[in-house]
């Protein structure tokens, strides 16, 4: 059991590191898929079978495939990403490490918390989750549908091609986003 955990944990961390460091976005997405699958494995280890299924379907099946789709649609592999200066990167890594340490320190009392008495093996089952979702969390559940609706509408609005007849201003006055901002000009 413990070794299984270590195995999947290692996969997660390594995959996460690849996500962050891969040069090509496609590689990043593939690594993220691996990472999420390993997290799903953790869920199963934690007896949350239903959640693991949903996780695989939603994240790997929908979100990440969507990302992959977008990357390929926009032909991103051809774009060379400008790297940030070394100082910034080192600083970011140091801050991240510090953050990790602080989080650990923050929970250092929690790390020794005794495991509570009593155990219910059935909480991860569809039935229990469904009961809980539709009884205790019905209102948030319903509200989330509104959230989805608005996200959908918003995405459509954003991604829709501008109708030239709707543009009131003459094209010359439109700010050219292709040019860098004044800060970069100065630098």
């Amino acid at each position: 059991m413990l070794y299984l955990f270590y195995f999947f944990a290692a996969i997660s961390v390594i995959a996460a590191l690849v996500v962050v460091s891969a040069k090509s976005p496609i590689n990043s997405v593939i690594a993220l898929v691996v990472c999420f699958l390993s997290i799903a494995a953790h869920y199963i280890l934690l007896n949350a079978q239903f959640l693991a299924m949903v996780h695989v379907i939603v994240y790997t099946g929908a979100i990440l495939v969507l990302m992959l789709f977008v990357i390929m649609l926009l032909n991103m592999n051809t774009i060379v990403e400008v790297r940030k200066p070394m100082v910034t990167r080192i600083l970011a890594v140091v801050t991240g490490g510090l953050f990790f340490l602080v989080l650990l320190a923050a929970t250092r009392s929690g790390l020794s918390t005794p495991v509570p008495e009593g155990f219910d093996p059935g909480i991860g089952l569809v039935k229990r989750i469904g009961m809980s979702l539709f009884q205790d969390f019905l209102l948030p559940f319903e509200l989330s549908s509104v959230l989805f609706l608005s996200a959908m509408a918003g995405a459509m609005m954003l991604a829709k091609k501008d109708d030239p007849s709707n543009v009131n201003r003459p094209p010359s006055s439109e700010p050219d986003l292709r040019q860098a901002g004044p800060n970069e000009k100065a630098a």
């Binding site: 940030k84 600083l91 801050t95 510090l98 953050f99 602080v102 989080l103 320190a105 923050a106 800060n183």
Partner: protein, 638 residues
């Protein structure tokens, strides 16, 4: 459940309120006399309902409470919005609505040409409504609404002709002076709530009545209540607003002086008579404040030349009498004087208004005279009122004033002496006013309105109320004929059912003493009148300001320098403090502080603006650093 009685009770204040709202809302639509007639009709309806309530009231009917709704219910505080119907409130309702109706009728004529006549009637109705609320409230708080409403309306009406700055100042003065008294009332209410846990009159009186005489709490509460009463009823030291209140239209003066407003203080004391009965210390203060005010008003009235100012100081003086009566525990005598005074003072003011109307706005009595032949009705009614206020039998003023004098004599002969002296002064200045206005020859050059040949009598709509009031002034004394004249003290008996204090009062004077006192005061007053006649009766010339007056006379003519005293005592130091606070606090501290804060924020913004690079990674970085810092702080308690 709303009974027929409740319905009647509610109708009394509802009519004027309706009038105020409707006329106020439609003041631009109502043309000509419509507003006046509507307002008058509503207050008259109110009077009719009051009269019905009065006629149907049994001899010993208990206090009736009509609860409209539960107003304040917070914790232990439970204050209903309720009306109390007993002999006292009923009597006040009759006075307010009755005299109010006559004044409304009169106003139709008086305010006929004013462009804001509808506003005037709306405010007049609101005034009546406030006063009704004041007298009908079943607890101190409802009374207090009316109390404040009366103050507001007086402000509005005194400053009715707001284009003249002085009138506005007069309105403001009345407002501020009343506020000083209101503080007393508020504090008294707080104290009583603290002590009794309720503000209902019935409960407060019941609980208060069981306390020991001279209980410091009761004494404090009554003193505070009396402070409120001095403000509203223009007693020393809060009386300077009342003479200035003459700035308003004359019917307003009549309303303030006769039916509403100034009687509120008397009413409050009588309403709380049980408490005052237990505080002899307060009663002494009331007695002497009343006596001093009576003397003050009477002396100042001697040298006033404005017809309305004379009447104003006369009101101050008469209110002093009423408070003197309350001070010796003669509540019914005080209320009786309130009633008769309402009759003849309303009459005097309306008469004065008629005279002013006749002369096209002239108010200086030195420039009047000889109006007897021209304005016959006004003259006759004015004469009646003057005789009544001077206290000559058998007119109403005699009975009421005599009741007060007799009660005072029993308590303190010194106070009696001062009051009799004040009564002589009253006779003097009132007859001086009468003689200068109506006798002799016309001395004025009054700038009359175009198309008016000379002084003229007022229209019927103004003279009829005068005649009604004259009749009341004559027979009003019959309400409370004392035993020695074979009467039964009807008003006293009537009011005794309302307030325990009235029931407790008794006059321990032998009949012979009473006869003697009456004879004494009456003869002194008659003597004064004769003296006045020799001075002013045949005046034909307009005399200017005497070059040098004796010191005392000059002092009195300047109203005992009371306004100046207040200016010197309060206004000057206050202005001084304000100026210096402005110099130091405002200019040296507040302004630099506020401007400096703005500048600092601006500078800081200028500097912090650079953080907003627009670079998302930078924001993220900042956020993370912030989280780390926060966590470190919480963890290690830095």
């Amino acid at each position: 459940m709303v009974s027929a009685l409740d319905l009647h009770v509610l109708m009394v204040p509802a009519f004027p309120l309706l009038g105020a709202v409707v006329i106020g809302a439609m003041r631009r639509k109502l043309k000509g006399n419509t507003a006046g007639i509507l307002g008058t009709a509503l207050i008259a309806l109110s009077f009719v309902v009051s009269a019905i309530l009065f006629l149907h009231r049994g001899a010993d009917e208990p206090t009736h409470i009509t609860t409209l709704f539960n107003w304040i219910h917070v914790g232990a505080m439970d204050i209903p919005f309720a009306f109390q119907l007993d002999a006292l409130s009923l009597w006040m309702m009759l006075i307010v609505t009755g005299i109010g109706t006559l004044i409304h009728i009169y106003s139709i004529g008086y305010m006929h040409d004013d462009p804001r006549v509808a506003t005037f009637f709306a405010q007049l109705n609101l005034f009546s409504f406030s006063m009704l609320l004041l007298v009908m409230g079943s607890n101190f708080l409802v009374t207090f609404i009316g109390w404040e409403g009366v103050g507001l309306c007086s402000y509005l009406l005194i400053g009715f002709w707001y284009t003249t700055p002085e009138f506005n100042y007069a309105g403001r003065k009345a407002f501020v002076m009343n506020r000083i008294g209101d503080i007393g009332m508020v504090l008294a209410m707080a104290l009583m709530f603290y002590q009794f846990g309720t503000l209902n009159y019935v409960d407060v009186m019941k609980q208060g009545g069981m306390m020991a005489t001279g209980n410091p709490l009761i004494v404090t509460a009554t003193l505070l209540l009396f402070l409120g009463a001095t403000g509203k009823s223009a007693q020393l030291p809060l009386l300077t607003w009342l003479p200035d209140a003459m700035a308003g239209p004359t019917p307003v003066s009549a309303l303030i002086h006769a039916a509403t407003m100034v009687t509120a203080g008397i009413f409050l004391v009588v309403r709380s008579s049980v408490l005052f009965q237990l505080a002899p210390y307060t009663q002494d203060i009331i007695l002497w404040v009343g006596v001093a005010t009576a003397l003050f008003g009477a002396t100042v009235g001697l040298f006033q030349n404005d017809i309305k100012k004379v009447l104003a100081y006369s009101t101050v003086s008469q209110l002093g009498y009423m408070f003197a009566a309350l001070g010796v525990g003669a509540y019914s005598a005080g209320m009786f004087h309130v009633t008769t005074h309402a009759f003849f003072k309303a009459l005097l003011f309306l008469g004065a208004g008629s005279v002013i109307h006749a002369l096209g706005g002239e108010q200086d009595i030195r420039k009047m005279g000889g109006l007897k032949g021209v304005t016959k009705t006004t003259y006759m009614t004015f004469l009646v009122a003057t005789v009544a206020i001077a206290g000559i039998p058998p007119l109403s003023g005699f009975f009421s004033k005599d009741g007060i004098l007799a009660s005072t004599f029993a308590e303190s002969p010194l106070a009696y002496g001062v009051l009799v002296f004040a009564a002589m002064l009253t006779a003097f200045y009132m007859f001086r006013l009468l003689f200068l206005t109506f006798f002799g020859t016309y001395r004025g050059t009054a700038h009359l309105p175009a198309g008016q040949a000379g002084p003229h009598e007022s229209p019927k709509v103004m003279t009829v109320p005068l005649m009604v009031l004259a009749v009341l002034s004559v027979i009003g004394g019959a309400l409370n004929i004392p035993h020695i004249f074979g009467g039964h003290d009807w008003l006293k008996t009537f009011l005794a059912t309302a307030a325990d204090g009235i029931g407790m009062e008794r006059l321990e004077l032998s009949a012979s003493t009473e006869w003697m006192l009456m004879a004494l005061s009456t003869s002194l007053v008659l003597l004064t009148i004769w003296y006045t006649w020799t001075l002013f009766g045949k005046k034909t010339t307009l005399d200017g300001e005497p070059a040098d007056m004796p010191f005392l006379k000059r002092l009195i003519a300047k109203r005992w320098m009371l306004d100046e005293l207040y200016a010197w005592l309060f206004e000057k130091p206050y202005s001084w403090i304000s100026r210096h606070f402005f110099g130091i606090g405002e200019e040296k501290i507040a302004v630099p502080a506020t401007v400096g804060t703005g500048k600092a924020a601006l500078g800081l913004g200028e500097w912090l603006r650079k953080v907003q690079t627009g670079n998302t990674s930078f924001y993220l970085f900042g956020m993370m650093v912030g989280v780390v810092v926060l966590l470190i702080i919480t963890l290690f308690g830095v």
